[in-house]
Symmetry: none
Subunit: 143 residues, 4 copies
């Protein structure tokens, strides 16, 4: 299969990409399969109901993993190299929430092969549940 | 089931926790199931072999998700609330790599309910593949 | 800590042991953490509702793992060595079902260090959900 | 999410599937959380060192649970119904062992909706630690 690598000519400051996903119980199971993180806040209804969250919530890093999809599939996209990510976990995410992950290019430094993006993830009520900043580079096509 | 919430009396500066995990192909499939991130660098052997990585690599955010387990299960542990995380992706992680995720408490601020941790993930050769900083709070037991 | 190993003098044909447990969502998460088995019948409500099961069911081997507790903690108990197990999965187990796992010694062969047990697991309606047969041996105390 | 159910046309005698996993201490903790099986052979280093095993070993049923993943995710795969399983526990499994679970179809009976599989789990030295036989059926797609 052939893929077209993103180049700097494909990118401009202010460019946006986004995608949406509804969090379901299976997502938590997949995340637990990777991490083993069975913190009862995420997997035990009774425990979670006794906390101020009032119900089980998705792992923050599960939600944050949607940034991975933006970097690798959307902006910069195929050929991107993920350099760094900051994450602020602002609101809980519950099973059934529909999230939209959004990226916007803040700056492009061709010389140093560095793209800086602002990212945030909103729920179906427009509340930002996670925000962060991303640095990515582009792979050079092989000569 | 009863759980004991971590309290500030359980924690001290310099305290460490760690756990190990070998990354296997199934982990990538679980991550794809959550994120839909099928960037060919992670899922297409032929494409990955043609890049300077030379083989498929795990999604950076997949590896970073091991910090979730440290926060929620180890340090601070049950009752932790994840506030923020920074991540620097330093080295590629390949299928079969055995990773050790490590946390160390840098500072504890009881008044503002804030614990700061340094975290890093090493591979089987002792190379740091990800490093970052974490802020977490503790849930208060219900009165 | 000192433990008393079970000896043949502790055991007789017809001897029974049992214990009960309610299956909760956290159990499925723990099982997925071990196995990575995210078959949608176990983790995806919508998929499971579309099958003749009508709802998510627990992994059969999750339920069967209660036999491990009987062998190692109850009958024969501490010092038991698990030799073999057969399992017939007879009825689905749903989240919230309260299961009782029961063992009964069928035969004891001191010379060949072999104890044979019949085991079954019932739900709260008295239906047998799994049945099987077990062979176990006893560790000899160190001289 | 849409899943494709395995059909008899996907299967043939001799067909194999496998997957690998390294057993870590967290797996034992997850298993204890499900079963409550805290037999000291599995959780007490000092006790285990005093036995002829010489170190803690994983619960046999924990290792056997990898067959669940093969049935539900690989062979037959999604849409499989687990009918029965036999298990012979042949060798101890220690923390750090890398296990490969393997299934091979022995016979297919379309009329009676019955697939018979031989299964075995090898450690990193190629030793078979568990072997067994499996019967599974296929769910019919809803008409």
């Amino acid at each position: 299969m052939n893929y077209r690598l993103t180049t700097f000519d494909d990118l401009h400051v202010g460019q946006r990409a986004s995608f949406a996903k509804t969090i379901c119980d299976a997502d938590l199971h997949h995340f637990v399969a990777i991490t083993g993180d069975v913190n009862p806040l995420h997997v035990d209804d009774e425990f979670a109901q006794g906390t101020f969250f009032g119900s089980r919530i998705a792992h923050g890093m599960l939600t944050a993993s949607l940034f991975s999809t933006l970097v690798g599939m959307h902006l910069p996209g195929i050929g991107a190299i993920y350099r760094s990510q900051t994450l602020e976990f602002l609101k809980p995410v519950r099973i059934g929430d529909t999230l939209t992950a959004i990226f916007e290019i803040d700056s492009i430094d061709r010389e140093n092969n560095c793209i800086e993006l602002a990212g945030w993830i909103e729920n179906q009520r427009g509340e930002v549940v996670i925000k962060g900043r991303t640095l990515a580079s582009l792979m050079r096509p092989r000569g």
